[in-house]
């Protein structure tokens, strides 16, 4: 029987097959490191007197904690500063390459890896961050891991893993104009639920997926974790090869030819079987937004907040009631009537150059609604430079937005970019959990297009709702 893409990549990384109920031992091609989930792992190495086995397969960046204004000044928050300084001293001590604040390749770890050409098809990629699933867009097996596993990979460049089940997510047909990769993945998560992918590696397939750019594919794979999946993957193709070619760490010459020959074998065989399959039709999808406190609680923008009274099952009704109470929303409210205080454009989900271009195209020549603030935070310093070279910074500044430096920023509010209690955001990030963007903050997950249109009107909107620019 044939094998799926995930099974092929798995098999090519098995150092040792487990016996009996033991896990397989898999080799790791690339280990991405950041300041939040690594200090205790480096400490563990020190205590055991172990080196980093493969510093040449490890790279670090500063992203979660870093300020997005005044980056040339010392970090004001003492605990944040200590954590960043700890990463710097650990990388120096163990010989790990680090892209620090101020470096052109500093930025969100999942933006930096692909941009440097370090993420390539058919690799195993791990990072102490759940959105590592992003790198699956290249046909890599990419997983978020905890700090104990970070230490394990630093020490051994391997991970013991039990095989996953596989699920095909097929999106047939074409997306309508105005429907983006973000809308597709929000619709998928609403369909299968936040636990629907638990125990699975998802493979996104079908015409609508093939038609996406690499950045759109990264947006899709990025949020696989929000469906509970361990990873998400898309088979590499000409779009993938063209994206990788010429990047700083891309293979060249004979290595490039050998790489493409291998990468071209990385697709699910026709006679392979998935353990589960979900099918969506591209034409049926439209801009999608969340109303609740997990990423599965979403509806089309044209829809309304669900009415808990219409839900029969006790547990489901209580879960909706609880979410609506936190979100300060009444069942039945049209999504387009919901007023927004802050628009956040950024994150590892939607902080890449195409996202910024799409948002800038919507706001160009307009003024933001007086009632709200707009934060635009590029995913990496290089994305920021690129945007500035294209004049996007001027477009956002003229619109009334704040143009910030790169980092995770308000996606998780570890730095000063946070929502206040009761403040409501339309955010291009990935999680609308209670308090995610600041204690008491209320988050609606949206695409960059919806974020931009919302910033114009002040209520959840799509570009189709806007009057033409005079």
């Amino acid at each position: 029987m044939g094998r799926t893409l995930a099974e092929k990549v798995w098999d090519d990384h098995v150092v040792r097959r487990g016996e009996g109920n033991e896990p397989d031992l898999l080799h790791i091609d690339l280990h991405l490191v950041h300041e939040v989930t690594s200090p205790q792992a480096f400490d563990g190495l020190r205590l055991a007197g172990r080196p980093v086995r493969r510093p040449d397969l490890t790279i670090a960046t500063e992203d979660h904690n870093t300020p997005t204004v005044g980056i040339d000044l010392p970090i004001a928050d003492r605990t944040s500063r200590v954590q960043i300084e700890t990463l710097r001293s650990n990388c120096a001590e163990f010989g790990v390459r680090l892209h620090s604040l101020g470096d052109a390749d500093q930025g969100i770890v999942h933006v930096v890896g692909p941009q440097l050409g370090l993420t390539q098809p058919g690799m195993t990629v791990v990072c102490g961050d759940s959105h590592t699933s992003t790198h699956g867009a290249f046909g890599s097996l990419a997983m978020g891991i905890g700090t104990s596993e970070v230490e394990h990979v630093l020490a051994t460049q391997t991970l013991p893993l039990k095989p996953f089940k596989t699920m095909a997510i097929t999106v047939n047909g074409r997306l309508k104009p105005g429907t983006t990769a973000k809308d597709v993945i929000l619709a998928v998560i609403a369909e299968i639920g936040t636990g629907g992918g638990q125990g699975y590696v998802l493979e996104y397939r079908g015409e609508a997926i093939r038609a996406l750019s690499m950045e759109g594919r990264m947006t899709i794979c990025n949020m696989s974790i929000e469906a509970g999946a361990r990873a998400g993957m898309i088979a590499p193709d000409e779009t993938t090869f063209a994206y990788v070619q010429g990047r700083p760490h891309a293979p060249t010459g004979a290595d490039w030819d050998a790489a493409v020959a291998y990468w071209s074998t990385l697709r699910t065989d026709d006679d392979a079987e998935f353990d589960a399959e979900v099918v969506l039709q591209g034409e049926d999808l439209e801009p999608f937004v969340t109303w609740g406190t997990n990423p599965g609680q979403g509806v089309p923008l044209s829809g309304s907040v669900p009415d808990p009274a219409a839900v029969g099952e006790d547990g489901a009704r209580q879960s909706i009631e609880r979410a609506l109470e936190y979100m300060g929303l009444a069942g039945g409210t049209p999504m387009r009537d919901i007023g927004i205080d802050t628009v956040f454009i950024g994150s590892c989900t939607n902080g890449r150059i195409e996202d910024l271009r799409a948002a800038a195209e919507v706001v160009k020549g307009r003024q933001k609604a007086d009632s709200l603030r707009v934060l635009v935070v590029p995913g990496s310093a290089r994305v920021r430079l690129q945007a500035e070279a294209e004049g996007l910074d001027r477009v956002f500044l003229d619109f009334g937005a704040e143009w910030r430096h790169a980092g995770c920023s308000m996606c998780l509010g570890m730095n000063p970019d946070q929502l206040a209690v009761g403040e409501r955001s339309a955010s291009t990030s990935n999680r609308n959990f209670e308090g995610r963007q600041g204690k008491g903050g209320r988050t609606h997950l949206v695409s960059p297009l919806v974020a931009a249109a919302t910033a114009v009107r002040g209520t959840l909107s799509s570009p189709a709702d806007l009057e033409p620019v005079a």
């Binding site: 150092v15 040792r16 487990g18 109920n21 033991e22 896990p23 031992l25 091609d29 939040v36 989930t37 205790q40 400490d43 563990g44 055991a48 510093p55 040449d56 397969l57 490890t58 979660h64 200590v82 954590q83 390459r97 050409g117 370090l118 690799m123 102490g128 961050d129 759940s130 978020g144 891991i145 905890g146 700090t147 596993e149 230490e151 394990h152 020490a155 051994t156 391997t158 013991p160 936040t194 636990g195 638990q198 974790i225 509970g228 700083p248 760490h249 891309a250 290595d255 050998a258 291998y262 406190t293 997990n294 547990g315 998780l412 570890m414 999680r431 959990f433 209670e434 308090g435 995610r436």
Partner: protein
Amino acid sequence: MEKFSVHRGVGVPLRRTDVDTDQIIPAVYLKRVTRTGFEDALFAAWRGDPNFVLNLEPYRDGSVLVAGNDFGTGSSREHAVWALRDYGFRVVLAPRFADIFRGNSGKQGLLTGVVSQSDVELLWKALEAHPGTEVTVDLGTRTATVQDLTVPFEVDDYVRWRLMEGLDDISLTLRHADAITDFEARRPSFKPATLPARTAS
């Protein structure tokens, strides 16, 4: 890691589903560089509510958490496990766990047992009928017992063995150091490396 065979402690009924790791420990507490001392951060936002279960007297010293479906979703932060452990929890029982959280728990000696939804309901009722009741969790027989109620739970065979032996993963893997070296010798030359540093372009 400490060996785990049987644990007996106060059961805490947490009647919530989708308890994500941002609820277990909010991001502001992740700035610390230590591996211990996270007990104050556990469920930090919810603990502001005087009626939250851990603020009720009989449950304060709880060590067996019984939660709803999809416990530990979201962020990979192992700090969530450290916070539960530092507070005093040794066991979490739920119908379904997020993969990364479950993996992290196994590395830190926190037992996560999968119990059917109907058995979780029975455990909740038993614990609420007699607040402060102890639960006996037996990893050998894979059962949890409250008074005369005994329910089975599932745990991966390999994780169970590691917990019962108290074994550290890294030392287990380093037994196969030669296999890693052999594998690395066969790694294709086209695969990328982060070092030596590129010359500035």
